[in-house]
Symmetry: C2
Subunit: 161 residues, 2 copies
């Protein structure tokens, strides 16, 4: 399948929360996201990597207006499961390459990472699928990131959802 890059999307409307050192045992993810759902918190991105020494971190993004509610719920759960702590960050942006068939062309992800690196923009989180390669970066770098990606991938400037 030939990769097709449709464009670049960016989102500065979200905040990020991270719960550190949650036990890597069945039921922990459910115990965090059930009360968040009950509290009406809408969740966009969830990222959890593999554990080390029995614990891992779970990060997720929510609309800025929901951060306070999300933080309160999350801190309660963190305590209940004996997690290490909770951090929040309002100053993030999500930048994504949107397309199709992008796993066969793994070069697209590496090109995205290289373009950001060349602009000294640190990649805080990565979450990808064959149709969307998303990076969380500092919000104050988002315009530069989007311009750099358009130029580097030789795309026109049309912003995508």
């Amino acid at each position: 399948e030939q990769a097709v890059v449709r464009g670049i999307a960016h989102d500065i409307s979200e905040a990020k929360l991270t719960v550190y050192r949650v036990p890597d045992t069945p039921g922990v993810a459910a115990s965090l996201f059930e009360p968040l759902a009950d509290a009406g918190v809408t969740i966009d991105m969830i990222v959890q990597n593999v554990s080390q020494e029995g614990s891992t971190d779970i990060s997720f993004t929510v609309p800025l207006a929901m951060l306070d509610v999300a933080e309160e719920v999350t801190k309660t759960v963190a305590e209940d499961v004996n997690a290490g702590g909770v951090s929040t960050d309002r100053e993030i942006a999500k930048v994504s390459i949107v397309g199709i068939g992008m796993k066969t062309e793994s070069g697209i992800a590496s090109r995205m990472f290289r373009i950001l690196a060349d602009h000294d923009i640190n990649i805080q989180m990565i979450s990808t699928s064959p149709i969307r390669i998303s990076c969380v970066i500092a919000e104050d770098r988002v315009s530069e990131a989007v311009s750099a990606l358009h130029a580097g991938l030789e795309l026109d400037g049309e912003a995508l959802q």
Copy 2:
């Protein structure tokens, strides 16, 4: 936007690699994925969570047949950037709920996590977007996970890509 769950997809054709404790500085992600692309390795899922104390982990999945090449490239990079180490796992499965508008219905992610928890299936990695909620689990639990998700979400049994 009303959420619509289209179905459950699963994939047992991939292996997972993790590079532990890479420096969280610009250029590190590029330095890993450029040589992987050069080596012809196709990459499906990339997951990186936020750093602690200046380092983080990067995990990604590749077709089983590419694991040896991917591991060799990854170990070289890990050494170059002074990372902590590299692990691989052939025995994984990716299980995904596929749909649309699933962030507004954050309850779908929590229901997926709860169904897996009720079957004592550990969630090793999570990567989500509003159209796909993906969990990496042990390959020997995939049939049980897929059946449980179909039943729990009251879907017909049609498997999706």
